[in-house]
């Protein structure tokens, strides 16, 4: 059972702060590192993987400093985001080479086991250059698994995968977590994280915005005020009825339609069709005005 610990970790490039005072502990199981693009997820993972020195703070694995400590890679597997592997090698040659670099006793056996684990046996004899995106992702996964590490870091592992490949990889990650490994993966897609991770760390603009069980975070995300844009046959009458009910904090008549700020998401979604029926107003369009992940994150940060 291994534990990654970040304490007061910051990283800046010149005068741009990429990661700002992050402290977290990543234990066994699957942890999702969630945040919009450019939030600093990759910077964090690179510091956890020993590719980047923290400008301040410490990153340790079971008490051992990771930066400038190649020995740590006996216990750590890293799947980088970038696609390029050694395209001129076959999948099997690549994994055998990785096993040899780890100094494993029987690189051939370890490589075959890792390749079987990601179900890449049929394509193991082909050069990596001919692989699809999903296959490349899986062979990269095998390269990180070949030495059977207790800790696995995956940077945006689902990027560019089709739904079936996504499910396969999720299964694989779940299996590995069930074996007691500590797995951390980054994603900017809430649904991915929600389906896979029992524990979530949210990063926004380099800051640690939230941490905990995904249900708790999900609730934080749905409990916030939602802004909807409603177009109807009579915006003015609808506005009066909505504000009378109390599930909305404000309504605003705009030239694009009626803008409603709902405080109680569930009640509002249940109420709106009833109100429109009771008042005889026909609804043309109801759309969330701020559903982007960024707005969810910025809400979490402001709290």
């Amino acid at each position: 059972m291994s534990e990654l610990r970040l304490e007061g970790v910051s990283r800046w490039y010149g005068n741009v702060v990429a990661v700002n005072g992050v402290s977290m502990t990543v234990g066994p199981g699957v942890t999702g590192l969630l945040g919009p693009n450019g939030a600093g997820k990759s910077t964090l993972i690179h510091m956890m993987g020993g590719f980047l020195a923290p400008s301040s703070g410490t990153v340790t694995l079971d008490g051992t400093t990771i930066w400038r400590n190649p020995g740590i890679y006996r216990h750590l597997g890293l799947v980088p985001e970038r696609e390029s592997a050694y395209d001129f090698l076959t999948g099997e040659q690549f994994i055998v080479a990785m096993a040899k670099l780890h100094g494993l006793d029987d690189p051939g056996v370890a490589a075959r086991r890792a390749i079987a684990r990601v179900e890449m046996e049929p394509a193991a004899g082909r050069t990596i250059g001919t692989y699809s995106k999903g296959m490349k992702q899986r062979i990269k996964m095998a390269s990180a698994l070949v030495h059977d590490p207790p800790v696995l870091l995956l940077d945006e592992p689902f990027n560019g995968m089709d739904p079936r490949q996504r499910l396969q990889l999720m299964d694989l990650i779940r299996q590995m977590a069930a074996e007691g490994r500590t797995i951390l993966f980054s994603s900017h897609i809430l649904e991915e994280v929600e389906r896979l991770a029992s524990h979530i760390e949210v990063i926004v603009a380099g800051r640690h915005a939230a941490s905990g069980d995904f249900r708790k975070i999900r609730r934080l995300m749905t409990d916030r005020p939602h802004i909807f844009l409603v177009r109807s046959s009579d915006d003015r009458r609808l506005a009066a009825a909505v504000i009378a009910d109390g599930s909305a904090r404000s309504v605003q008549l705009t030239d694009k339609g009626l803008q409603v700020e709902a405080v109680d998401f569930q009640r509002f979604t249940w109420l709106l069709p009833r109100v429109s029926r009771d008042t005889g107003v026909r609804l043309w369009e109801v759309s969330p005005a701020d559903e982007s992940l960024e707005s969810v994150f910025s809400y979490l940060v402001d709290r």
Partner: protein, 238 residues
């Protein structure tokens, strides 16, 4: 030395069209030598000119630049070096292996062609051929170490290397004598000069200065490459 890293590096260097690129210049040198020999323009002065200007001053720095930056630069740029760096392999082993591969390539594509070219042109007259072979070899070791270090330290290694080899060593050396003494080419020529009595070979730097500088630069560049590789920041993190 690590045989797995060496295998991957050799395959990356020789697998693609780069191998043809590496072959072009040495073939040109050999072809030129054969033409000069067969047309009778192979006296000691002309031969010295070919071996020094083409072999030592052009072929060697360019080949060392291609080999030295090629063994590690593209892997850093494309991120594949991640797969090597995430292994419990000491960084100096990685650097020394990359250096060894680059040196083998320089020997095959620069030192051996210079030897063959010298044999075609002058045979072993005045020991000029072996002298140039040794000069190109020791110069190659220094160039390669410098260019590997450059590739680890900078994304613009090829440009900087070209500027150094073409502008500093070749161009400025003609105008400013001072620039000549700070030149791997001249140090290598000094070694050649010491090994042959042939009068056309004239080095501007004494052997007592050249040899320590060659050793120093090679060692310092190797140490710098190792140091920089220990704290290499990956491309996508910036």
């Amino acid at each position: 030395m690590n045989s797995t890293i060496a295998m991957i590096t050799f395959r990356a260097m020789l697998g693609r069209r780069r191998a043809l690129l590496l072959l072009a210049l040495p073939l040109l040198l050999l072809a030129l030598s054969v033409v000069l020999r067969s047309t009778g323009y192979d006296d000691l002065d002309v031969s010295e000119d070919v071996l020094q200007k083409f072999g030592l001053a052009t072929l060697l720095p360019l080949l060392a630049l291609i080999a030295g930056t090629g063994v590690i630069g593209p892997e850093i740029d494309d991120g594949q070096l991640m797969y090597v760096l995430t292994k419990p392999v000491p960084r100096q082993v990685i650097v020394l292996t990359k250096l060894a591969v680059a040196n083998v390539l320089v020997v095959v594509f620069a030192v051996v062609p210079v030897l063959l070219s010298g044999l075609v042109l002058t045979g072993t007259t005045a020991r000029m051929t072996p002298a140039f072979t040794v000069g190109v070899l020791v110069g190659g070791l220094a160039y390669t170490a410098v260019f590997v270090a450059l590739a680890v330290a900078s994304r613009n290694a090829v440009t900087i290397g070209l500027l150094y080899a073409l502008v500093w060593e070749s161009l400025l050396g003609n105008f400013a004598p001072g620039a000549k003494s700070a030149s791997i080419q001249q140090w290598a020529l000094s070694v050649t000069d010491a090994l042959t009595p042939a009068s056309p070979v004239r080095a501007s730097v004494g052997l007592a200065v050249a040899v320590p500088l060659l050793v120093l630069v090679t060692a310092a560049a190797t140490a710098l490459a190792t140091y920089r590789l220990r704290s290499l920041t990956v491309a996508s993190a910036e």
